[in-house]
């Protein structure tokens, strides 16, 4: 009797746990175990929506492999885009964070996945233009096909207002007074902000030391707290501090300069006579062997999201704009960036 009772208890425990798992996964479809059941159901009866696409692809959930950490800029935008999938494509879109190895772990997992179009990758330029010079990788740009752009990353170089440095000349004078400039970057060697600020200071011939942080917000906080002399940032992380006068912008790597809401025009280093430029970009990619028709459906989905006013407001609140560039444009930008990096990499490694 006692044994029976305890068995029953064990069963109840197990059931309560599976019940919970079911309740949370049923609606989010995040557990692989529930998927086979979904796919075997006849598609005609389960999709009674009026605006059914001509092709019945996709039939099951789509996974976006996100090589960057949860809660960061690309992750938040990707998740916001994915949340539209149920409505537009009729299937859920799941974002999985495969972080580490400067994005190469996610990239490799993505290339290991089937080329059936059900796996997307949140890609960027430096994974091809920079990372291979710092980490041994076995992928090339030919393995992927850029689908559509996500956003342009506009790196700005900032100083703490208390230091009294307001422009690049002030920084040079500070260094000439015998100081070694310490600068906070959003990641270690091979990271885009690390490479570009290092290239900036090496071009100027200023003595400098990088202090790598984990992500843009940490780097900006180190600057606000007065722990480093310089930091790199992209919107929205630095905006408030510049508006309140705690931080100064001394220039951006975007060659045309940028206009930031509430701050005004930030001049490029190029316009200030320093030959360093960089335009960061995030974009969705699929494996290059994915069927063209499927690629078109996925691209069309993302563009529909970009056209949604709610989504545009969401991006505006973050201080960014959706970047709807097509595959060819992205490819040529990545190629140009790779070419440009051959100039900077020896500089920063030397």
């Amino acid at each position: 009797m006692k044994k029976l009772m305890s068995l029953a208890l064990a069963l109840v425990l197990a059931l309560s746990l599976t019940a919970c798992g079911g309740s949370s996964s049923g609606s989010s479809s995040n557990t692989p175990a529930t998927q086979p059941a979904q796919t075997t159901e006849p598609a005609q009866t389960t999709t009674p929506e009026p605006a059914a696409p001509a092709s019945n692809w996709p039939e099951k959930e789509i996974t976006i492999i996100q090589p960057w950490s949860l809660g960061g800029g690309p992750d938040v935008i990707t998740r916001q885009i994915a949340s539209y999938s149920d409505k537009i494509l009729g299937v859920p879109m799941i974002v999985e964070n495969h972080t580490g190895g400067s994005g190469t772990i996610g990239m490799n997992d993505f290339l290991d996945a089937a080329d059936d179009g059900y796996t997307l990758f949140c890609c960027n330029g430096p994974l091809f233009s920079l990372t291979p010079s710092f980490i041994d990788v076995d992928y090339t740009i030919d393995d992927i096909n850029p689908l559509v752009g996500i956003r342009i990353t506009e790196f700005v170089v900032l100083t703490n207002a208390k230091s009294g440095i307001t422009d690049i000349q002030g920084l040079i004078d500070y260094a000439n007074a015998g100081h070694t400039i310490t600068y906070a970057t959003t990641g270690g060697p091979g990271n885009d902000s690390w490479t570009m600020i290092t290239a900036l200071f090496k071009t100027l011939g200023i003595p400098c030391e990088a202090v790598p942080y984990d992500g843009g917000q940490e780097a900006i906080n180190a600057l606000v707290g007065g722990h480093v002399d310089v930091a790199a940032g992209s919107p929205p992380v630095y905006r408030d501090y510049v508006k309140s006068g705690e931080l100064n912008c001394i220039g951006t790597f975007i060659p045309e300069g940028i206009d930031v809401d509430g701050i005004g025009h930030i001049a490029s280093f190029k316009s200030q006579g320093i030959d360093v430029e960089f335009t960061g970009m995030d974009y969705f990619a699929v494996r290059s062997t994915v069927d063209a028709e499927k690629q078109a459906i996925l691209k069309d989905f993302v563009l529909q999201v970009y056209a949604d006013p709610d989504f545009q407001k969401f991006m505006a609140d973050m201080g960014m704009a959706p970047w709807g560039a097509d595959g060819d444009e992205i490819l040529s930008m990545v190629e140009a960036q790779t070419e440009a990096m051959t100039k900077y990499i020896p500089l920063v490694q030397g």
């Binding site: 305890s6 949340s83 202090v211 906080n221």
Partner: protein, 503 residues
């Protein structure tokens, strides 16, 4: 004040109060399964919140977070495996209480302490967020390094008189933490040609391997015929907390909550570290430190109040500076952004009403947690009656499923098995697991900030002593180790005298 009232108005909708119990129930169950953490519960439930309005969505997620941090204590107490890393300090006294047959009492105290800690944390978030945020900005690399040294000094107190083994354990932990790509120079370390090890070893994976798998292996000597003690259902819930015990626990809960708030508000640390530091402080200041680690109810009280005390406080740097206090808050921050609220200095000005509604809601979450927890506690206490031969396969299944679900890869299951085997042999050689865990938790924080500080000071270690906050932490660390040394030497002398007298 205007925003405060506006917040009350936003909060006072029945839908908000409906999602809180749901979130808590999910959190407690997820937290109580080794391998499933509140992080996972949050990720699974974020899609559910897409359709909700921001206040409702964030309150549900906060309920999962708080419930998970409390829920993790259930397995720590019952099966000697912390449900989340925040509950590791609950092991010290929680499991010994279960062995003594006081599981229900321990669960009750964990719930009570978690609730009080959570309430204090929610109130500090409500009233002290901006000033605390200003202080955390003062924390540079030197301060973080000193804080982690202070954290490691806890080892002296938790090594059960074999400080040498404790130190070796911490080194093992620090070594495990160094596996993967070095974040400062990008060098791959100890990856044995395995690409997947580049990302390092997930804390939760290490935790399952170290505690749960080795615990099951330790029980390999277990004989169902002779070792299983049958306990009647009524006896389990009979042993309740006495008035005297409540009175005794007020001080530990107070210290725990306070330390929880302070450590929680420091970005990058979290509830686990808070619980260890608080536990050590209470043990050292106790009149009867020898009872700690042997089923002392004050030990459960302090660790659980500290980790839940960190829960609300981790939101302080997140909301005001945009820096998450720990892993779960990083996910919460993503949820805030998804709902159109970008954490940072201007959030209070722009979305004050919603924020106040959320902060006031956090108080409600903690009150609900006590009510729901009381129901769960009664139910969970009976788990101790399940014979181990039935419990072990269930736990093992959850561990494997949990470790797989962390990154959706089978690779992690091999890692937990390898960690389990290493941990099993260490335990057979009488090593404590907690110093290893401290090493794993503090390793990255310590290393990164040491190297950043060295860059900033251009290689001079004087930076740790010339900055006041950093110097203070190092002094406290030294003093607490010395005090511990003197105390244990005295205790040894007394024990020798007693032996001599008896002889």
């Amino acid at each position: 004040m205007e925003q405060f009232l506006g917040g009350l108005q936003v909060l006072a909708q029945w839908q908000n109060f409906a999602v809180i119990p749901l979130g808590l129930a999910i959190g407690i169950v997820v937290g109580a399964i080794p391998g499933l953490t509140s992080d996972l519960g949050l990720i699974l439930c974020i899609p559910l919140t897409y359709g909700m309005d921001p206040t409702m969505a964030i309150l549900m997620l906060l309920a999962i977070y708080c419930g998970g941090t409390y829920g993790g204590s259930i397995t720590a107490i019952l099966i000697n495996t912390p449900g989340t890393s925040a509950n590791a300090a609950t092991l010290f006294d929680g499991y010994p209480m279960t062995v003594k047959g006081q599981a229900f009492k321990a669960l009750q105290m964990a719930l009570f302490a978690s609730t009080i800690g959570g309430l204090i944390s929610a109130v500090s978030l409500l009233f002290l967020a901006p000033p605390i945020a200003k202080i955390t900005l003062l924390f540079g690399p030197a301060e973080y390094f000193a804080l982690s040294v202070f954290g490691l000094s806890v080892i002296a107190g938790v090594s059960n008189n074999s400080i040498f083994k404790g130190l070796i354990g911490a080194c093992v932990g620090l070594f495990m933490a160094s596996i993967g790509q070095d974040s400062i120079s990008g060098t791959a370390r100890f990856i044995f040609g395995q690409r997947r090890l580049m990302a390092g070893i997930d804390l939760i994976i290490a935790l399952i391997g170290l505690f749960a798998i080795s615990e099951i292996m330790m029980k390999s000597q277990y004989n169902p015929k002779t070792d299983h003690k049958t306990v009647s259902a009524s006896a389990i819930t009979k042993d309740k907390i006495t008035k005297d015990e409540y009175r005794r626990c007020w001080k530990p809960i107070g210290i725990g909550s306070l330390i929880g708030v302070i450590i929680g508000a420091t970005p990058g640390t979290g509830g686990g570290l808070a619980a260890f530091i608080a536990y050590n402080q209470v043990k050292q200041s106790s009149k009867h430190p020898e009872t700690f680690g042997k089923g002392e109810i004050e030990g459960v009280a302090v660790s659980e109040s500290a980790n839940n005390g960190a829960c609300g406080a981790t939101m302080i740097p997140m909301l005001t500076l945009g820096v998450p206090g720990d892993g779960s808050t990083a996910i919460l921050m993503g949820a805030f952004m998804l709902h159109g609220m970008v954490p940072g200095p201007s959030l209070f000005a722009e979305q004050g009403n919603i924020l106040y509604a959320i902060m006031l809601g956090l108080i409600v979450v903690n009150v609900f947690m006590y009510i729901i927890g009381s129901v769960f506690t009664r139910f969970y206490a009976h788990i101790t009656r399940i014979p181990y031969e039935i419990l072990a396969p269930i736990v093992l299944t959850f561990c494997i499923a949990g470790s797989y679900s962390t990154n959706n890869r089978v690779y992690d299951i091999y890692i937990i098995l390898i960690f389990g085997i290493i941990s099993y042999f260490l335990r057979r050689m009488d090593f404590q697991l907690v110093p290893i865990l401290l090493g794993i938790v503090l390793g990255p924080l310590m290393e990164k900030n040491f190297r950043r500080a060295m860059v900033i000071s251009q290689g001079s270690p004087s930076i740790f002593f010339t900055r006041p906050i950093s110097c203070a932490f190092i002094l406290i660390a030294v003093v607490s180790v010395v005090v511990f040394g003197i105390r244990s030497a005295r205790a040894r002398k007394r024990a020798q005298e007693n032996e001599a007298k008896q002889a």
